[in-house]
Symmetry: D3
Subunit: 334 residues, 6 copies
């Protein structure tokens, strides 16, 4: 197990040497303004990323046989440059696959995957619609899907951009949907829940997460909406006597879940369940974004009355942590 | 009590005389293409509106002393013109205020106002924040506000455009909020609920509902957001030692609840509770719109596979009643 | 064969009786302002549509056993109402399927379908890429696709909204592409041509054309882009050793051919061939629209210096037939 | 009084030591690329801002007991880095409040505040509408408002972002309005002038200007439009028998003065006086912006034929100083 | 001289015969629903337009030899159809050019053309820039331009759509500019005034006003901005030693005066004088629009508290006549 | 002739001295962070641009008498700073006009100008419309136009931003137009070709290309659309009996060729030939952009599966070189 995570470095003494294990996210040869060459690396682990520099390029303690995607053990020290923490690497060697635990090296959900998966399966077990139940059951039983679904992030960056993020997002949405759907009797609950479980399933092929989080080439050219719709259509076609109208509705929910053409959905939601899926997905993504932004602001040392940085996913708004700010006032009162 | 509601006319034999009581929403003298003068009225009751024509202008059985806003008893018959139902009036007299029940004459919520009000008060009774509790309690205890709040529609047209619509919308939102808010621990529940109860309170001055639903002149020039913020600010200023920060947060929620500047909010939601209020308000309004559109489509005689007319509040989309359409398929199966 | 087409009626003497055969596109019972009931029909044939009215509802010469979609033989006469031609029907009977030729009753391409199809097949025969050749050959060899492809319109309205319109549009595009593509050596010609042939193939399920041109319910909820991509993916998956990258490129061209997210493409064109396909499709559609608008203006009796009505597909612009206007000047000169 | 203003530094010999007094606008510890720590300060006075660096952190002549918002006396020298002037600080001590004149330290109007105030009061004295006169008189007589109104900037940045900027902007607008309003007899002059005086009054609470110009938290969450409307409504409510319609019109002018919903006005101008106020405000702001940009271009050493930088408030346009450019041509002529 | 203007008809007894002279703006043969043919005319004079119908097509008292653009003398009577006034024509004959005064037949400015022209010439006489003075003087001295400039409307519809409208608009703008320009010392007054006089001069070729107000074909394809710039460039090129830079500035002002690319200006205003011209033009157009809308509302019988119809040129806003509404309150007070 | 082009430097050994000749595009005095002064130059030749630094400011081998626009001979060496190549200059002297070949110093078309010009003239020789033929012939025969047309770039940056770019773009478009136009019989071919040749002719005055590519001041204030329309109008006016309608059509094509108001065309294309010109111009510009981006990506060392940087002219899209990517797969196969 790792000892020093990137998120810990900020509390480490500047310039004090330490050892740790990181994933190489990028590797580039560069030169300073005064023509001194150095190696610039982006190193990552499950707590964040950091730039590292190697100045002694020909030091035998610095391995040269590693590339982007490798995992390395380094000895170095941290210091701030223009207010940004940076590593200076004194020793570096490439590790074999057996020498580290990959879960240490990419950010991951803080929930237990097994528990999340169980919640997902229990929800499906509770379906009253037999056709939707066998559809979702069949999808989740596919070993390749199952394995990827338990690992995949929900995004390259932004909300749920961590291992297990897709599953965490889906299970959070299931909990939310089970509360909201009964408020509107017009909605067919199992259809909404099916949409919740399947809407982002194309992301298991749109994204790659072995070394950082990237779009695949297929993902860039086709997108997770088309990939997901194709996956589900094939599964449905393999199920005997699946009702054709229900097939159309399920595919429509996947196609329309981004809610707007300009967000990449080729169709707007045109049934109540698709409208609800888009509402829930949007709400959950934004609330999760907000939580992340408040954590980030706290890490930046911002106080209760300070706004977050501008948030891209919220139209460049800045947000205030109302609870913290209000609490501060209460505490000041006698 | 009235015997023949406007919504009943479609099932009445064409040309068969009947008597009923209606509110005069509009009164105009007109001429046919062949120069024949007639009186064109828009009559309404709580089930809808209809055009009515008086051809025998000088018949002594036709009263002339009535104006827009009066209630009249008419004898006439219904028939279709270009597919639209229309009344021909043979007798008409103005009624005194004692001769009718106003609740028959404007569309109203189908819920019991007393019950809704009780749900509202019970919610407030459950607040744990004493400041928000005394704020909301004080507002609801104001006799003028209380009376108007129990009567007001939530809109001139579109969603909840009926007597009691404001209260029905608020209580529906409270139910929804009590389910969704606990899903996000970051949210201060009482602040969200306070926003739910107070966000549209300016509508009691923005709208007038004695004869049809209209904007007041003050409402047109100032808007319910400004009117509501002013009402609540005055109430807060009357409460001793109300925390200043909480005042700012409550006012911010009222100002930002439309969610976008172009929808008339002078500020975007910048705290989690305001963001949530906007989500819930938008979701509930659209789901209620959808329910109305499906009812309207059924009244239009549309079948399960037919889409609604284009819905203005849903970006001119047409919507499909998925449950009905799917049900039809199931019924067809052996 | 029919004797009097709807487009001929404008040259017929007003009020002069004639017989003809039409398709019933709509049938509604209505009432005049003076309460007189009548039957309002929309009748169509391959030259256009017209409103027809039956005033003698109980005349035994007027059949009552027909519905929308039936073909009827009528005797009647034409006259103008508010400048718009209208039929008065005196006799009407429903025809059996053997009593008429369907091609008379819906607008159709003026080209010979067999010739168009041969041009299409010759183009495919000239492919140098064996994978794309076997893909397109396989698609066109499917009897269900082949039959529909030879019949389908390219749109419900707007450009190429007539039987055979899809095929005519594709063949016109092929001719254009074969001229333009060699101008840009960067382009893989067979890939562009494959995109031209397959991009709209989903329309054979998105549209229905047995009685007028309508969207199917599946078409409304899924769209021809998704339907077409799914059809082609299934065909590719059935071909042994089809190159995976080529599959991705072909699907990308179908998905992106509308050129903009807001036009319903879930992906923008991101390869040169997809960019070119979008250019050609857009150009051909607009030039065909323009030709139709000039024909329509001529039918409206507009002179050489008069602009067309506003054209929806050209951003509500009005257009001038420059050749006609310039020719008029030349003719005026001595 | 200060001897060396920031705007003077550009004309000072590089590296020549000097003494001066500045306001500390920001203070941060940083490290160079070669790990050398230093203190980075943003210092300001009424002529501008500049970055300053302290390299000898432990030199006893460098005080450490100062924070953002303090005023310091420094000895240092200026030089350019990447074309941008920068200070190197050799000595630094914190000053007591009695040791400097705050008006030296923040940019301020070049007009005399007393004179501007007198012009404002004379305008109000000339009102013919007694209700508007007592409203404005009452507002300006409030000691807290009066003091803040004489000091407040009109913006955090952009036009009139200096002490007294609000008053200067209002008095400039009054002069403009008194010229333009008589051109349109439809306008009630006193109502326009009242709008001019009161439209931005909420800025005295929206902005803070003790150390630089910042938004207050209340200002960020509520905005000067709402704050100003609330202030004026309270004043009106305190005036006996103020005409209710006039109250609505005055509040409408404040609410609508940004002219567009997307600029944060919850209502569009719907009366002629509000339309005119928005025109005048917009025109004056843009002309003042233009003047500043031409001054800035001159400071940048641009010649008569060179365009300004892109101007954010003018849709990123670049502007040409036409008078200067034309004058250059005239001068060249014999 | 005419006796009965169209604007007078609303006060005439319905169905009472009268004689008058009108311009034929449109002439169409139509049929009623019951197949009765009639002639539908749009007649106009300087006070407005009205639909007129001729029912007795073969009556010898009804001339048949007239076309759109002719002037006719009619005997008829007025009545309302669906609330809209309409004429019934009993006699009609075509007039020779000597039998009427054209100024009676198209709406015209209420100002004296001679006086307006004198104001224009006096302004030019006051120029201090000799180059601009000889430019404008030369333009106004061209007999063809002079005659057209004194007659032309400023628009086909919307603001200043009447004979002399262009001149009235320019003279109003000159008055406004002479007040506003001195407020901004940066502005070269004669350049602004030159822009005011010349900016719309292309409208004398863009519009035709002999029979109603229409765009010319050249106007539709080129626009008054291009036509005007071309006219002024030719004049400048004919003036010896006109300063080249001044030529560029004058042309830039014409090109940019619409203020936005999407309003048809190929360049945004990039000099202060062009910015000011756009401000003044926009302000004057909107204030004149507002005055027209209030007059229209009064003609519609709207009371002081009623809003105008939605105004296209003001983003579909409705406007309130604040002076009238406020006056009503004052009058009500004891 | 030059020996070392800027594009060659990337392949040169770092730090190895070499001699070459460059154009000075910019010259500025700067200081490093540690206060060391240096001279920063932007040097260019026909293969690209590069930053160069002179550290020994007082070395007698460094000339000081040169300015922006001069051509200099330098001795120096190249190295990378932050991954970007940079020159260090050791010796520098200014060259006289006879000591270099300007065509080496600005990027230029790779086609032979004489050949391009001949293709242009042959196309005109093939016109069948005598009026258009003498118009274009007259324009091209003007010595000033002819010389500039053979040299001008088509843009300051983006597509065809090199000497001869305008001519290359026009000749490419002519070839394309001659293929596409016959596909649409509605089009008058000579009118389209005239539009192709003349649409951008204003660029010879809008741009300056003696030292780098810049907008002229006249170009910035008037634009090439207006300048070009004015040039062509003057030529037409000099041709006896040129048909007036044809003049309007030619000018309309120049004015509308950008296709949208927001792209600076004061008129939308309203005739078929103008619509086609806009299509062809847009297509050719984007295909040429794409070719440049793929070349740039190759220079950046990107592999077949890597996307280009975001392309401004393609809505910030990234593009994939499909041919290269597909070829890679083929090569991998056995």
């Amino acid at each position: 197990m790792k000892e020093i995570y990137i998120a810990d470095l900020v509390r480490l003494d500047e310039n004090k040497p330490f050892d740790s294990i990181y994933l190489v996210l990028s590797k580039q040869q560069r030169t300073t303004r005064t023509a001194k060459p150095y190696l610039s690396l982006i190193l990552g682990d499950n707590s964040g990323q950091i730039e590292a520099r190697v100045w002694e390029l020909f030091d035998p303690r610095i391995a040269t046989d590693f590339v982007k995607g490798d995992v390395v053990k380094v000895r170095g020290s941290a210091s701030k440059f223009e207010g940004v923490l940076q590593l200076k690497i004194d020793q570096l060697k490439k590790l074999a696959a057996t020498e580290f635990d990959r879960s240490d090296l990419l950010p991951a959900t803080t929930y237990d995957i097994g528990t999340l998966w169980q919640q997902l399966e229990e929800t499906v077990a509770g379906f009253t619609d037999p056709d939707l139940q066998r559809l979702v059951t069949t999808v989740l039983a596919d070993p390749a899907i199952r394995e990827a679904f338990r690992e995949a992030p929900a995004a390259k960056q932004l909300h749920h951009a961590f291992l297990g993020g897709l599953l965490e997002h889906v299970v959070s949405l299931l909990g939310l949907a089970q509360k909201v759907v009964p408020h509107y009797p017009m909605l067919m609950q199992d259809l909404v829940l099916t949409g919740v479980i399947l809407h982002d399933i194309g992301k298991i092929h749109e994204l790659a997460w072995s070394t950082g989080f990237e779009y695949t080439l297929e993902g860039t050219l086709l997108g997770h909406i088309q990939i997901g719709a194709s996956m589900i259509e094939k599964t449905i076609d393999s199920l005997p006597e699946f009702p054709p109208r229900l097939k159309t509705l399920v595919l429509h929910m996947i196609l329309s879940h981004h809610g707007k053409l300009e967000f990449g959905s080729p169709k707007l939601p045109m049934i109540p369940e698709a409208l609800m899926l888009n509402f829930l997905d949007d709400m959950d993504a934004k609330m999760q974004t907000l939580a992340s932004e408040f954590q980030k602001a706290a890490r930046q040392g911002k106080g209760p009355g300070e706004f977050t940085d501008r948030v891209w996913a919220l139209d460049q708004r800045t947000m205030l942590n109302s609870r913290a700010w209000l609490g501060e006032e209460a505490n000041k009162q006698p």
